[in-house]
Amino acid sequence: MRLHLLRGLPFAAALLTAGAIAQQGPSTISVDDIRPGMTGYGLTVFRGTEPERFDVEVIDVLHGFRPDQDLILIRTPHPRLEQTKAVGGMSGSPIYIDGKLAGAYAYGWPFGMEPIAGVTPISNMLHEMDRPYRPDSFPGAEVLTTRRMRPGGQARRRSGRHLAGLPAYRGEPTNAFAPMRAHVERRPPVSEHQMRPAATPIMLGGFTDEVATLLGNELEPMGWVPLQGGGGRRRQPAANTETRPRFVDGGAIGVQLVRGDVSATAIGTVTHVGNGHRLVGFGHPMMNAGEIGLPTSTARVLHFLASVARSFKIAEAEEPLGTLVHDRQAAIVVDTDLQPATIPMRIKINGLVAPPKDEWNVELASHRLLTPMLLFSTLANALKTSSSDQTDVMFTARYTVTIEGMDPITLSDRGYMGAGPGDVRALSHLRLFDLMEIAYGNAFEPSRLTRVDLELDVTFGDDTLTIVEATVPANEVDPGSTVDVRLRLRRYDESEVFRTIPVRIPERLAGEDVKIEINAGSRVGVEHAVPRNIQDLIRRVREDRYDATAVVAELKMPSRGLRFPGHVVRSLPRSALDALDRDSGTTERPFVTQVRQATDLGQVVLGDAALELTVRQRPRRR
């Protein structure tokens, strides 16, 4: 393998050095021994897969840059780097001082005028390389050799949940972007004057410009820069360890977020390959997510692009290899002997005439923050690629989500895209994303999403009815009577139709002024019991909303209800409310009881209206 790599190398001597280091264990230089003016070199891939040297000169050492971590400031007087300054994708490039490994090229200043970078000391990185991980951290991962997964220091502890730093999911309606946005909101803001990790380019393959932009907007706050790249060659991980590709010090490494018909790969550089199955790279965290389990690959650099705004490597993934097991302050750590579980996803789009492609298959990295967003992006991309029409579209999304150890969950959502298939926002609210949050973030048990199959039936045309107005014959009504509410509805062609829906006035509203809210079924939420287990959460998603073709009349009652674990109780008499809403107990805040009456109109309903009625104390005598 090494001979293969050596062929055609422009800097064979440098690679031999790197290879020798890899074999023998690194000869390192301590930060304490580094002085201003010392010189050395770094290794990174400027093109292809082979690392090349670039000169470095030590400016000084910044002590205490991070907790228990110094930073070596260097100048990189390389002709290419003089142009590009800090380069996305170079993160992790090993830096040698006096012939010894000093650390990883990792930090830069945005809009810096000089080729100056911050180097994470190798001692901090090697510490991470040796860090064990909990055996339950990567459910579904496969060990490629006969070695056993090295138990971590906390192996005897009960399996923990991996909630990605977010609160446990308790059943609130969510969407594809909510977890990542919640995560970003929790991060402290970074000043433009602060030194920050060199940007991590995310090479996108097979995405339309719109979806790439959409994805980019979500990823940029993480320090990730989505770039239109290539999808890479599709290869399966080699089972034979002798023929598997290898990582080398200074070589490019990809973290594969999506692969298959579309791809998204984060690009960085390997700092040092250890003697065992591990390597360190990046010199800074990717998400600082700790034990994370994302698939990694070797990568090939196509070009080293200089940009006034931000220079970066254009690269693509090569061979799937290993798992990102630690995402830490000083480094990412990859275990090349571990193949992570990914989520196969199949998307089938029906109803389009001769689309260029109607079935998409991808593998998604499995992570609470990333997977929903990546899934949505893939779905949106499939739809946009299949049809760029900008006419009204009705859709029905039928999907089956498989959570390990449970029966597949099949749901169906109807919706409307007002500006054609390109208007994909409606898809971000599929209940599919609620199910994903359950799989990743439920409070009750570790669980794992294992597969998603989705079929999207698309129908061109606007089959919606928008509620314009609701009226009643008289604003004073009898308790216990049924009122005919006349709805004025607008069709897509601006023509109006009228429908009458019966709304029963409960006797309990006698003597009250009541507001009746008429809402589209898809907009009506109902009170749910406090979930007790993952099944309760799934049940809640199944029963979460009225059908999109329903119109729902909601009447606020003068009584309260309470939510309990597993139960919701409504319309409580006051003494019973006093008894059940205890000082000591698990009840949650009382809610206003609403009486809801749904009528199916057979077409997707949009909009809302409201009525105010006075209910007589007693029915009139007839």
Binding site: P558, H567, P573, S575, A576, R582, P590
Partner: protein
């Protein structure tokens, strides 16, 4: 309860009269600070805690019943209760919809419904029926082995609030549609009556009459076969509980407050609005008679036993016993907030509670361990305790304990040794006192009284201000030798205060009294005539003394001192002459400075002018005023000088003045 001895005569009788008389005589007339706590009516006694004792409506504490608390595991609340033919008691609970069986003192889980709350229970033969929330399901449970089957899920029903069985069929009072169902043994349910109210909360069976109480409007209906009639429309908005026996119907009708508004605030206040409870007895002729009312808490359960009606309460965790003759007593007082179910009939009376869940077994009323404990009585300040008196019959022992926190805790003293007769309280001085009476069989406590002397509190003179003239030289006050002195005092125990004022000139050491000792100043101000003292800077001291309310040894005093202020009761002098058409002269004051110079021409208006150096800042100011503006001729020119204390002097001169008068 905390009353002054002056304002209230003791009404103790018999053996205590002599003692009280002695106390009255022994106390000096001025000792108004000796006070007492008197507890002598049902309200006073009900504010305390009862353990095996009862408070009667006539204001007597007597031995009552004992209670024994039996736990209910981790249940949140017990809500319903039914007694089986073999004496076993079944208790419906929440929040897991379990039923417990109590045999003797043994309580064990008996059945599970999987619902939130077992809200109603009824027994017929060997079957226990359990009504539940929130899906309107009723279960039939075999009393033998607890095997449970769903009898029926009632249509359009979420709550089953009440169940009764008449031997033929089961009746269920439900919500939220207010329907009364009749349910056959096979589970077939028919609506007997639709109250058109929110809920049918309570049912009671008396012979052929089935009574149903509603919420929304607190109405009791009578259902006899297919005939339905209104028995009574009670004040309030909820009939929460009913019981009927022998032609008497007992009704717990409440006026419940509107639920708190629902907000999105994360702070959840647990303060509850009180409901108002009313207990009625309705005769077979339909005459409703109010037996008891409470504006501070609502009633949750009611049961007729003999000629007594027991009613459970929803805030203080009590059971009141009310006789048909309206005589009432607080029968039981427990720590739990609510009494939710009563089964006080039979040989093993029990009741159940919510918040938190418990079963209480009610024991024999033997009085061996009956105690009444007062609430912590607040003396306002640390107090020295005097005598403890009580009035009653039989053998009563009284203990006390004291402490300085409003709620008795580990910082309080232990209970004192029992007092068998009136005598000095043995607890050490403290702000709070608690009294415990231990009653024996046949004993009656009617009143108790504890004397105390609060620790005298020192009044503090916080500020002394003098209406000091001359503080604003730009606007001198009217000249006067009367100075107004005012002071502020904090007086924690509101003792009557007497003030003494002293003064001294700045630089002197000795304070001189401002007035004679026989002058008694009790208001916080004084006007001082300074005409008898030389001009100068002075300081005033105010002493506040509570000697009027406390004997000499206990009198406390405090003094406050004013800022230095100027006494200037003498006029300045003015010398003036005309020199070459100019008005020149000097104004002088002993205390200075001169505050204002004015001149007037020929008796005209006074006009301000400035001294030579333009500054009014010295006791002697020279002036030189050009009179060229005047018409040439003879004029009378007057100069008035005013000092900082407002004293003024005028001098005049007559002569030639005006533009043509040559300047020498």
């Amino acid at each position: 309860m905390n009353r002054s001895l002056r304002t209230r005569a003791l009404l103790f009788t018999a053996a205590s009269t002599l003692v009280c008389t002695v106390v009255l005589i022994a106390l000096p007339a001025s000792a108004v600070s000796t006070r007492h706590f008197t507890l002598d009516d049902a309200g006073d006694f009900n504010r305390g805690e009862l353990d095996g004792a009862m408070v009667r409506s006539d204001g007597a504490v007597v031995p009552g019943v004992t209670t024994k608390r039996l736990g209910l595991g981790d249940e949140a609340l017990a809500y319903s209760v039914a007694r089986g033919g073999d004496g076993s008691v079944y208790v419906g609970t929440g929040d897991e919809g379990k039923i417990y069986r109590m045999r003797g003192d043994q309580v064990a889980a008996f059945a599970e419904t999987g619902q939130l709350l077992v809200s109603a229970l009824a027994i017929d033969g060997d079957t226990l029926y359990a009504g539940t929330l929130p899906e309107g399901r009723i279960y039939a449970i075999a009393l033998g082995d607890g095997s449970t089957r769903e009898l029926v899920q009632l249509p359009e029903t979420e709550h089953v609030w009440a169940l009764v069985h008449d031997g033929r069929r089961l009746y269920a009072g439900t919500g939220p549609q207010g329907k009364l169902f009749a349910i056959e043994r096979n589970g077939q349910a028919n609506v007997v009556f639709d109250a058109n109210q929110g809920h049918i909360m309570a049912l009671a069976l008396d012979g052929e009459d089935l009574y149903a109480g509603t919420d929304g409007e607190a109405i009791v209906y009578r259902v006899r076969g297919t005939d339905v009639s209104v028995v009574y429309d009670f004040p309030g908005n909820e009939v929460t509980a009913l019981d009927a026996a022998g032609g008497v119907l007992a009704v717990a009708a409440n006026d419940m407050p509107a639920p708190r508004p629902v907000t999105k605030s994360t702070n959840r206040t647990k303060r509850r609005a009180n409901g108002k409870g009313r207990l009625y007895r309705v005769s077979s002729e339909g005459r409703a008679e109010r037996l008891h009312g409470d504006d501070d808490e609502h009633f949750t359960a009611v049961q007729i036993v003999g000629e007594q009606i027991y009613v459970g309460t929803g805030k203080e965790g009590r059971i009141h016993r009310v006789g048909f003759d309206r005589r009432r007593s607080t029968y039981v007082d427990i720590d739990e907030r609510q009494v939710t179910g009563l089964a006080l009939d039979g040989e093993a009376p029990i009741f159940v509670t919510g918040d938190s869940a418990a079963i209480y077994r009610v024991g024999e009323a033997n009085g061996d361990s009956a105690t009444w404990t007062s609430k912590a009585l607040d003396a306002g300040f640390v107090a020295r305790w005097g005598r403890l008196e009580w009035r009653g019959d039989g053998r009563i022992a009284i203990r006390t304990r004291s402490g300085n926190s409003a709620e008795p805790d580990e910082t309080w003293t232990d209970w004192s040794a029992p007092m068998q007769s009136a005598g000095p309280i043995r607890s050490p001085a403290a702000r709070f006192l608690q009294i415990r009476a231990e009653l024996t069989r046949g004993s009656v406590l009617r009143a108790t009284q504890a004397f105390y002397l609060p620790q005298n509190q020192r009044a503090a003179v916080t500020q002394v201000s003098v209406d000091a003239r001359g503080s604003d030289p730009d606007s001198p006050p009217s000249p006067s030798s009367r100075l107004k002195i005012e002071w502020s005092v904090t007086n924690p125990d509101s003792d009557a205060l007497r003030y003494r004022l002293r003064f001294r000139q700045e630089g002197q050491e000795r304070w001189r009294p401002m007035f004679e000792e026989d002058v008694e100043v009790t208001d916080a101000h004084y006007t001082w005539d300074t005409s008898g003292i030389p001009d100068g800077w002075y300081v005033v001291q105010v002493e506040a003394s509570d000697e009027s309310d406390n004997p000499g040894a206990l009198t406390l005093r405090d003094v406050g001192t004013s800022e230095p202020f100027l006494v200037d009761d003498h006029d300045p002098t003015v010398e003036v002459q005309l020199r070459g058409g100019r008005l020149v002269g000097t104004a002088r004051d002993a205390m200075g400075p001169i505050a204002k110079l004015e001149f007037a021409v020929d008796g005209g208006d006074w006009r301000l002018f400035f001294p030579e150096d333009q500054l009014l800042d010295e006791a002697e100011e020279r002036f030189d005023l050009d009179l060229a503006e005047l018409a040439t001729g003879t004029h009378v020119l007057a100069v008035r000088a005013t000092d900082a204390a407002g004293n003024a002097a005028v001098a005049e001169v007559e002569g030639q003045a005006g533009a043509s008068v040559p300047n020498p």
